[in-house]
């Protein structure tokens, strides 16, 4: 917009808006910076009984370890408590969930966007209702059959469960995305003699990648951030990152190494930082995709 005079904001409004923005930026970013800084201290500084300034200066850290910064928390989490294994498990789960979930929802989303029958509408409404159900209610349905059939505790089970829980959301996203690809495109291919599958393969597949990337990002986030499913369905051996962090909390208060949890929290946050850095535009477009369609 031009900076014509009537559009120019009065100084008072400018100051209020800027002040509000500064406040929000501090609220949004400061907790993470604070934790990152604190993860290189000892517990006596991170939770300072004496003076909160110690968390900045690292008074106790100097006394206990000799330097102002220490990697003890990271050493404890990654080496002693084998956080690496949890990271490995999370990677496997995320990779499999994203691949399988995208394959299923791309095919189904395409069909849903092209079908003119009523049942397509009802499938989407059912998906919306499934999306509304708290995940933990489903988990309580899984436990008994999974014990009975000896499926409990395996990574494979959790992957399949997360794929299914992820379907409703992915379906909505892929459908609304495919609706934006003109029908003429595949229909003209079919006039030229392709069948549905060939049209999908040769005409739609090459142009659908932006939608797939966006949906994939959100599938990844769901698998990465999941706590209720992984915490209830995986055994100790196969634990993923988030339940592992939660399990630190149970034991650490007594053992006195909250710093393991702090270090692993920072480790789990880092990939998400990078993700937002590279995919900011896709995340924003994904969040608004549902809204635009209504």
């Amino acid at each position: 917009m031009s900076t014509a005079n009537p559009r120019k904001q009065p100084a008072s409004l400018r100051i209020i808006l800027t002040g509000f923005l500064v406040l929000w930026v501090i609220m949004a970013a400061f907790p993470f910076l604070w934790t990152l800084w604190g993860s290189f201290k000892v517990e006596g500084d991170f939770f300072s009984k004496a003076n909160w300034v110690y968390a900045l200066t690292g008074e106790s850290t100097r006394v206990e370890t000799g330097g102002s910064f220490t990697g003890d928390g990271y050493y404890g989490a990654w080496v002693t408590e084998e956080f690496g294994r949890a990271v490995m498990n999370t990677s496997i789960v995320c990779f499999c969930v994203v691949t399988i979930s995208l394959t299923l929802s791309t095919l189904a989303g395409y069909a849903l966007s092209r079908s003119t029958y009523n049942y397509a509408f009802w499938i989407l409404i059912a998906a919306l209702m499934f999306r509304a159900m708290p995940q933990i209610t489903l988990v309580s349905g899984y436990l008994l059959p999974f014990y009975e059939w000896n499926l409990w505790g395996r990574l494979g089970t959790t992957i399949v469960v997360l794929v299914a829980i992820n379907q409703p959301f992915s379906l909505w996203m892929m459908t609304s995305f495919f609706r934006n690809i003109p029908k003429d495109l595949d229909e003209s291919a079919m006039v030229d003699g392709c069948n549905r599958f060939q049209a999908f393969r040769h005409v739609i597949l090459p142009v659908m990648w932006p939608g797939v990337v966006t949906t994939g990002l959100f599938s990844f986030l769901l698998a990465y951030n999941d706590f209720p499913v992984a915490a209830m369905l995986l055994d100790q051996q196969n634990q993923t990152m988030i339940p592992k962090i939660a399990s630190f909390l149970g034991t650490t208060q007594t053992k006195g190494n909250v710093m393991f949890a702090v270090a692993s929290v920072v480790s789990a946050t880092a990939p998400l930082f990078v993700l937002i850095l590279f995919f900011q535009r896709q995340i924003v477009s994904g969040l608004t995709a549902g809204a635009v369609k209504g």
Partner: protein, 340 residues
């Protein structure tokens, strides 16, 4: 697209949802009508030199066989629904008859786990949802008026609370408001009470949980509204300006009506997400002060004795609540569909 091709395309996805969403719901329904087998007791008489003693003990063999034969347990009808852990009809009736005044009645109701969970969950949902929308809208307005160069970084920072794993985000916040953390110090300094601690105070715990809820969800509302602001008609805005509308009136009568459909959308998503509030209560180790429906189910499922039937009952009641909560939306969608 004909029926057969359609089915081929959607079959894998539908199958996944049928097997792992519809069947579990059926499993929840079945489990909620069953209870664990009673232990089969037997009386064993042991005779020693000083006479005989009778002891009752569990017959493991028969109990196990029974468990094997009927893994669901024994059918109990609606017993699970009316027991103390859930709708607690007899306790509610008792409380109604014996209470002296509303305060007494309320404290008795809040001692019943299901009712206290639903009270917290509803309070959380209906306080956090509107405040999220207000905060999100304010951020959107502020970012929209910022200069172009810093918009990108602003959006990056704003996304953090929403994208970061909820369990992790709430832990980070919880460590800061700990009595020995920086925000904890600040609160103590402001209140002038050095013993104040979130862990020890129920009202503060509730406030912190809701603060987290708003902090976490505001970026989502912000992004949606921000996208909406980009498409506000400049003509309408200009026309309002020529007609003499001031800045506030332009926001009130041009911008807000334009993004109203988005408010409905955000409110819908937020109602769903806030109703399942779960991770922050785990991170804040809030069980002594607040229990949501999700954490109530979770604590039944975990622990030494897995109370699967109780969890299933709560789950079913939760799903019913979600249904009631969303029914206006579903009715409206149905009407739109009929009209179309």
């Amino acid at each position: 697209m004909n029926h057969k091709t359609f089915l081929t395309f959607v079959a894998p996805s539908l199958l996944a949802m049928l097997l792992l969403i519809v069947f579990p719901v059926i499993s929840v329904v079945l489990q909620s009508f069953h209870a664990q087998h009673e232990q089969v007791m037997e009386v064993v008489e042991t005779c020693g030199p000083f006479g005989c003693t009778q002891t009752t003990s569990v017959n493991q063999e028969i109990s196990l066989a029974l468990q094997e034969e009927k893994p669901l347990g024994r059918f109990v009808g609606f017993d699970n629904y009316v027991n103390r852990g859930h709708l607690a009809f007899s306790e509610m009736g008792e409380a109604w008859r014996t209470s002296i005044g509303w305060g007494d009645w309320w404290s008795k109701v809040m001692n019943l786990p299901f009712y206290s969970a639903i009270v917290f969950t509803l309070t959380f949902t209906f306080i956090v949802t509107p405040l999220t929308i207000v905060l999100g809208f304010s951020i959107a307005i502020a970012v929209n008026s910022a200069s172009r160069a810093i918009k990108g970084p602003l959006i990056f920072v704003s996304l953090l609370p929403f994208i970061i794993t909820p369990l992790v985000g709430s832990l980070v916040l919880f460590w800061m408001v700990d009595a020995r953390g920086i925000l904890g110090y600040a609160i103590q300094a402001i209140a002038g009470n050095p013993d104040l601690s979130v862990k020890a105070s129920t009202p503060m715990m509730w406030i912190m949980l809701m603060f987290y809820g708003i902090w976490h969800a505001a970026p989502f509302a912000f992004v949606v509204f921000y996208a909406g602001l980009q498409s506000v008609s400049q003509d309408a805005d200009e026309a309002a300006m020529i007609d003499g509308a001031n800045r506030w009136q332009r926001v009130r009568y041009v911008t807000i009506p334009h993004i109203m459909p988005l408010v409905t959308f955000v409110a819908l998503i937020q109602l769903m997400d806030n109703f399942r509030v779960f991770e922050p209560l785990i991170s804040f180790s809030a069980e002594a002060h607040a229990q949501s429906l999700s954490t109530y189910i979770f604590s039944d499922l975990g622990g030494e004795t897995r109370l699967l039937n109780s969890a299933a009952t709560t789950s079913l009641l939760t799903v019913l609540c979600v249904g009631i909560l969303l029914s206006p939306v579903l009715v409206r969608t149905w009407r739109d569909f009929k009209r179309a």
